[in-house]
Assembly symmetry: C2
Homo-oligomer: 367 residues x 2
């Protein structure tokens, strides 16, 4: 169990969060720089607490960045957006927060909340509401299991803040927040949901920050021994390598605030031409990788995790960074069990993303 | 000076507000029905107070409907949107409002605030911040003369509410509110700005509700005597009849939350064909009528008022109701003096709307 985050931990957490990000959650590079800076500036470590240590009647809030990673990589944040949004929410409610919750453990969104927690002088909780990254607000265990979507807050780089004290549904919150995020330039800081300790304990996926660090540490160990890390990562996450090969096509647009598109990976083996059935893998994404096709066969689909890592060093490749020629391994990892209930699959299963296929889970659970 | 609004006043106020609406501000028909209903339901009249009666340290807020009149005429409101937005703002600030301020006296937006005031049990103030209607939030004397744009609130028909506790500029408030209004279906209730009594007295255009009632009463008098009311209206507003004729072309689109377009009016006189220079008038609009051209000559432009009324009965014709064949008079009326300072013209003059012409004011002031 993690008790703190120090400068010694940030590289491993960033690598692991990238891998859990399934292509999304934003760049870990920028947020790791911010986290290192904030740790150096404060001269302290960041305390990490367990969800079960939060009193039932304490107030906590999940936080993160909203928008397309294609945008947030190029349009830099000022650095205190999440902090300002939390402060505005505390002022609105006239009540202080007890701890900061990571909304999604995937990608840079694992690290941004830690930066904000340091700025706010609050501990962060080991866990999140996805065990990965997802593109839309309603797609997390807090919402799926009944935490109210309001109040929530958005903040932009220029100091503008919006608070939604009352919203009918999580999907409606997604629609309002998305259109405002686009108006804010395509990326914004989000505080959502605000909940009690009791609600947190009922709905959070525990220990995912520790998992990210373990994954990252394993990748670093492989690198130190000049081993390709893909198999090690897959084992640690109870998953498998779906495919290895070279990216031969990427189609990507930034539409309605999302990075959407698909890519094609050609197998390395010399058997047959690249496009022969079964020898090239197609992956479709909406910020995150959603579904992997081998011809007509679905190899893996949401909510199970599809992550593309660089074959040599195990570094996760975000959907915004996919490009022709990269040599990659595609990992398939089972989702946390909290994402595989009927209630969850209605929100994060293949059909929720418009794919007319049943969810065929990989065996096992992420953790 | 008005002291109250009763069921006997609403027809005249609606007619007058329509005429001050310069084509926008939304339909007076629906909001007059709502006002009559609310007056009947409460069994009371609505107290009207003077701006100078509001204590300097009291809290007041301007309210109105935001969106395209093409939308709000067809997508009916639930009826308590403004009330909910005001209540949410009071809860956010932990402070009650002293009175309700009409944001724009033009069109249905003159009446909606009166409905809300009745629902809230608050008086309304005789005056507004435009003396007419304008399409965008930053275009009012509160903003022009330095009242802060935040906090402001938006509410939709479904009970969703957004509060913006901190916004950098009035134009930024317009951009955020507009994109959220579109997401809310194209019309929403707005509370903006929130201000002190001292700020109100420094920035409001006084007595415009009384003016609306006077105009409407004069139109009703003309109708009772079977007189065409256009000349009477023009005189009462210190303006003139710019043109009379028949609408022969209307081009209208609902884009980015606005009703935009232009229309052409052909003169009645038998001299020459309709399109001969000088014999047909063109008006361009963005929710409101912005500029009237006679060939290359600008007859009237914002902030002066251009209102199209039905020739027979003096009823104002909103930009959403323009259609081929209507027989109309086009009235040009001078803007209130508060809209003609250099600071105001920078925001509401012809160039602020993209027209490369200088503002050539009509002689006199609206009131």
């Amino acid at each position: 169990m993690m008790r703190q985050v120090t400068l010694n931990d940030t590289e491993a957490i960033a690598i692991g969060a990238g891998i859990l990000g399934t292509g999304g959650g934003g760049s870990t590079y920028l947020n790791r720089l911010r986290l290192d800076n904030e740790l150096r500036r404060s001269g302290k470590s960041l305390p990490i607490i367990r969800a079960d240590d939060v009193p039932d009647d304490a107030l906590v809030c999940a936080v993160g960045g909203m928008g397309a990673p294609t945008v947030s990589n190029e349009k830099l944040q000022e650095g205190r957006e999440i902090m300002r949004a939390v402060r505005a929410m505390e002022a609105h409610l006239r009540q202080p927060m007890h701890a900061i919750i990571i909304g999604e453990i995937g990608g840079g969104n694992a690290l941004g909340p830690l930066v904000a927690a340091l700025q706010l002088g609050l501990p962060a909780v080991d866990g999140d509401s996805m065990g990965r990254a997802f593109p839309e607000l309603q797609m997390d265990t807090f919402m799926i299991y009944g935490v109210a979507p309001s109040p929530f807050a958005l903040a932009d780089t220029h100091g503008n803040i919006a608070i939604f004290p009352r919203i009918g549904s999580a999907k409606q919150a997604e629609d309002f927040a998305r259109s405002l995020t686009i108006e804010m330039g395509g990326s914004a800081a989000l505080v959502m949901p605000v909940m009690s300790g009791a609600e947190l304990k009922r709905t959070i996926i525990r220990d995912t920050l520790s998992l990210a660090k373990r994954i990252g540490q394993a990748v670093l160990d492989c690198r130190a021994r000049s081993m390709e890390p893909a198999a090690t990562i897959a084992k640690l996450c109870h998953g498998r390598i779906l495919f290895t090969g070279k990216i031969i096509d990427v189609e990507r647009r930034t539409v309605q605030g999302f990075a959407r598109g698909k890519l094609k990976i050609s197998a390395f083996t010399p058997l047959g031409p690249p496009n022969e059935l079964g020898r090239s893998l197609e992956i479709e994404f909406q910020n995150e990788n959603l579904i992997a096709w081998l011809g007509d066969e679905v190899l893996c689909a949401v909510p199970d995790l599809i992550t593309i890592v660089s074959l040599d060093d195990g570094e996760a490749i975000g959907t915004e960074s996919l490009r022709y020629g990269l040599r990659v391994a595609v990992l398939g990892m089972p989702a946390p069990k909290e994402l595989k209930t009927p209630a969850a699959l209605a929100v994060v299963g293949p059909r929720a993303f418009g794919y007319d296929v049943d969810f065929q889970p990989l065996p096992g659970d992420l953790l």
